[in-house]
Symmetry: C2
Subunit: 130 residues, 2 copies
DNA sequence: CTCATAATTGATAATCATTCTCATTTTATA
DNA sequence: TATAAAATGAGAATGATTATCAATTATGAG
């Protein structure tokens, strides 16, 4: 990853922002420092830095929403390789909610836990490939 | 909510699908049962049913991703009203990961917990409005 | 320092999921 | 059965993000 002035200002703008900004908001901030910066450059750099672990991208699954007829409390696991979504039964969560409510004073009315990684099948596949 | 044949087949298609389908996938299944069904009808009904709690919509925050320079382990809380994203410190999560790994055998390499509800300020605002 | 190569950029078109619009049809009920 | 409310289908519109591509910039060897 070569140096670029644009990446530099993107990273520092992100560090100076307490509220986790969206790309659009960052763009409005960045244009003040560099009126010529391109939206494509911003997205490119955000993705790059997120890949390298320099920043974190907060979002859900991939782009498309998934729908579930099971409305009971449970979590989801999405496999990075095959993109399948699996149910994970819930038996730890209530504690998290109670604890988080106490710590923050926020009114929590829902939460989602999404794990990601490799499902069993894809993990086997990758082992075989080696 | 009035009865509609389309909603009926959407709901049953969803129940018959083990893997949590995307709208696009559901659409391809549904067209076999009703070649005239519209994508708009599908989305409309999925949103409606999710609102009524008949099904669950699995996705992250709102549409746009948020970015975070804090790469330490922590969760997020998104306020339904002001849409701000807050950090929630982590001190329960490792147990969840260990437990989930043991139960499923999946290779979990990351997970996100996103709480949603009302932040303190918005909760106060709403109380005052009453 | 200077050239060659790879990385990066800006501008804009393209994509993809989703929502909106609106005229038409269906459902519920008085 | 008449009427109002709800739902539909088709396609346009939107919003976030990614892809394309020619031009610019960074880097490392000589």
């Amino acid at each position: 990853m070569n140096y670029s002035r644009q990446r530099e200002i993107i990273f520092s703008a992100l560090k100076e922002n307490v509220v986790h900004p969206t790309a659009e908001y960052l763009y409005s901030v960045l244009k003040e420092k560099d009126p010529n910066i391109s939206l494509a450059t911003l997205y490119r750099n955000l993705n790059q830095m997120a890949e390298k672990g320099l920043i974190k991208k907060i979002d859900g699954l991939e782009s498309a929403s998934h729908y579930d007829h099971n409305t009971h409390e449970h979590y989801h696991f999405i496999c990075k390789k095959c993109k399948k979504v699996f149910d994970i039964s819930s038996n730890v969560a209530p504690e998290i909610v109670v604890k988080t409510k106490a710590e923050t004073g926020f009114e929590i009315d829902s939460y989602d836990i999404v794990f990601s990684g490799l499902c069993k099948d894809c993990f086997e596949d990758i082992k075989e490939e080696k």
